[in-house]
């Protein structure tokens, strides 16, 4: 295999929490040398969150959250209360192609690592700030936390059961979405730098990245002046279309019964006919109540009840398999156990990563969502322990001698 696409590209990674680390994870997946700049005086919050192996908290290196999103990166620790740490960071920036952070607006400037400072150190640097609100505008100084960004984006107003209040997406969706858009922007800027030698600064607002995802809702408003109503799992152009209850998992987990569901969609009359046949109700396809999309939309709740009657007596795996055998769009509504142990597709594609980690051992993590035919595509190493690569990076990348490193450590600059 040829070298990975970003082999030789170095990223000075000042990010933390989720949006920034998700961005630099994409760059690490493509082969960049991503060096996370951390500090023991204020560790990344994800190092202190669950899950922990054996359910036992302890230390900064055992969180599954951190270990998922920091795979393939290196970690150094710098304590910026010491001016010597600034000098180390400046040297790292001088040897980096990309500088990235997701601090609140203005923090990098106050640290002396704003774009104007950084480009004096490295004239063709590509720098990106991933913020909640962007660098400009009256609310630029507002603070943004992942869970609140979904409602801010407008997705909550559009998501929910019929007649119910606005709902969430179930995860801090604007974080990874902002991160992956940021990775795209960095790659476009690297392409431009390759053609012209010119670096640049990129201002990313998580809020704005998320609004493209709800274009249909925004356009309903700009075209027709209407706020779309929330329609649960329905779809305006397909019926049936929903998530249907199946048998519970046969085994209890942590003493609890776990329910399971199957998602089903019929895109057109032909698919509905296949669906009707698969559930032993071919009569429905000829019934004027259900034969056309308009008829199915008009009788959707009756149709849903018929389907739920059929799925209710089956496991989700069985229901999905019967429908897929008839070429009907259906899938198990996967939970983490299903993805981890039962999904045959992810296993066959060797999606999961198993890399030895000094404190948690060899545990399963999610991998790279693409495969490349010519260049290597692999997670290189498990997530780093905090400061694991401080000596290695200062020595091999920045040219510090062992004595200098020892002195920096003794004075607390590497905390």
């Amino acid at each position: 295999m040829a070298r990975p696409p970003l082999d030789g590209i170095r990223v000075a990674d000042f990010t933390w929490v989720w949006a920034g680390p998700y961005c630099t994870l994409q760059l690490a997946h493509l082969g960049a040398d991503v060096i996370r700049i951390e500090t023991k005086t204020r560790p990344c919050v994800t190092r202190m969150l669950p899950p922990w192996p054996g359910m036992k908290p302890g230390g900064l290196n055992r969180s599954g959250y951190f270990n998922q999103y920091s795979q393939g990166k290196r970690s150094i620790t710098l304590n910026f209360k010491d001016p010597a740490a600034h000098e180390v960071a400046r040297k790292l920036i001088a040897r980096s192609d990309v500088v990235i952070n997701n601090f609140a607006h203005g923090v990098m400037d106050r640290m002396g690592f704003g774009y104007d400072d950084v480009r004096k150190i490295k004239s063709d640097v590509i720098m990106i700030s991933l913020t909640g609100y962007g660098d400009t505008g009256p609310d630029a100084d507002y603070i943004a936390y992942g869970p609140a960004q979904v409602p801010l984006s407008g997705l909550s107003a559009l998501t929910g059961y019929r007649g119910w209040p606005p709902m969430h997406a179930g995860f801090s969706y604007a974080d990874p979405n902002g991160g992956v858009h940021g990775a795209f922007a960095i790659l476009a800027a690297l392409y431009h730098r390759g053609k012209t030698g010119q670096g640049q600064y990129i201002d990313m607002s998580q809020w704005e990245c998320a609004m493209g995802l709800l274009a249909e809702g925004l356009l309903e408003y700009t075209m027709n002046g209407r706020e779309p109503e929330r329609i649960g799992n329905e779809d305006p152009w397909m019926a049936p279309h929903g998530i249907y209850r199946c048998l519970d998992r046969p085994e209890q987990v942590m003493g609890l019964t776990v329910d399971q569901f199957v998602a089903i969609a019929a895109a057109d009359d032909a698919e509905f006919k296949r669906l009707a046949g698969a559930i032993g109700r071919l009569d429905l396809a000829g019934d004027p109540h259900y034969a056309t999309l308009a008829a199915r939309k008009a009788h959707e709740s009756e149709l849903d009840a018929i389907l739920a009657g059929w799925t209710g007596g089956r496991t989700a795996v069985e229901a999905a398999a019967i429908l897929q055998a008839a070429s009907v769009a259906a899938a198990v509504v996967a939970d983490n156990k299903f993805l981890s142990e039962e999904d045959p597709q992810l296993k066959a594609r060797e999606y999961f990563v198993y890399k030895e980690h000094p404190e948690v051992g060899t545990l399963q993590h999610c991998g790279i969502p693409w495969k490349m035919s010519r260049t290597a595509t692999a997670v290189r190493a498990a997530a780093p322990c905090i400061g694991q690569h401080t000596d290695e990076v200062l020595g091999q990348v920045l040219g510090y001698g062992a004595e200098e490193i020892a002195k920096l450590r003794a004075q607390g600059a590497l905390d």
Binding site: P5, L6, P50, G64, G134, G137, Y142, Q149, S153, G154, S156, Y161, P165, M167, A169, G170, F171, V180, G182, L187, A188, Y191, H192, I202, D203, E208, M211, G212, L213, L214, A215, E216, G217, L218, Y221, M223, E227, W237, M238, Y244, M254, V258, A263, A265, V328, A331, A334, D335, N336, L339, Q345, R349, L363, C366, G367, P369, W370, K371, S373, R374
Partner: protein
Amino acid sequence: MAQALASLKIVEIGELASAPYAAKLMADMGAEVIKIERPGIGDRARTRGPFPGGAAHREKSGLYRYLNTNKLGVTLDIARPEGFALLERLVADADVLVHNVAPPEMDRVGLNFDRLHQINPRLVMTSITPYGLTGPWRDLRAEEITVWSAGGVCVLNGAGPDHPELPPLKTFGNQAGFQGGVHGAVATMGAILAQVRDGEGQHVDVSCQEAIASQLELTFEYWPYMKVIANRLGKKPIQPLEAMECKDGWIYVCCVEEHQWKAFVDLMGNPEWAGEELFKDRLARGENWEALKIFLEEWVSQQTVIDLYEKAQARRIPFAPVSTMGDLLNSPHLKARGFFVEIAHPVAGTHQYPGAPLKYGATPWAIRRPAPTLGQHNAEIFGGRLGLDAARLAELTRTGVI
């Protein structure tokens, strides 16, 4: 200022969101994108709204028009040999072919990397499919709701432990498609950088399911690390993190850190109940949410959204409004940043659209042309670019190849 991707040439065979969004991201940064649609039918997004006035019309779909800005549009039936031959001629001169043709259809029409690679060794071919191009689920029928579910996100969303009878809830719109698209764009750009370096293209196989499973926050690892299932019925360990109703709309009440809660209590005028042992820290507030919720709902219901939002942010508490579409279009912040852009379309009219997802200092995001009408650029591309004469174009049109 030059656009970052101005020298890239891309051919897209895309329907709905995934491949079209990947190509849009690159087109809006300057790449030339030739979008191929089925003769007489077009991209399925054309059948999906919103439509101005509500009546379906293939040139007026808001979803299609958003996803296909800056593209040249041609019609071509690649299942016909004459059609595939024209695709080969387009691809011979391109850097990228990005598509989301379903794998069984790829097999049927012979759309595969080896064939196109022989014509153009520099070609990056990106296939964005629901489950990827290998494995037992390769050929499964899929729609947005089934892929979002198979990726493991859908199970996390719902009405919570108070309403176990309600099913997992799909997020609005085409999120599986968008995530397949943006992850596909990242992988494609990586392959382009390798093409520039090595002078060779390659095949990029992007799975939408995997793109979704890659962003499950801390929930996936609850299984390998702790053997705990994460789903919609789990109680939130810390509170408050909830949408609550004000006099004039909804606000998201969000206190993650202790100092944020203290500032919120102060904002509420230090009510006596806030000093209860039940609410002493964020874990206690999570544990006793049922009691806390009653007090908070009572207080929040007497507030107005923007006033509470501004007061909270002034105290560094990360509240946010539950924005309606009207709130977004009228936001002074988004207006000051110029987020929404007006795009005029010859058939559908002029409307405001979501604009640049990021602001580049040196290489602008720009709308150079609206989404194409069906086959709008057939003469320009097949005639002007590939040199087919008028008689041949007429023949291909008559026989339904273009």
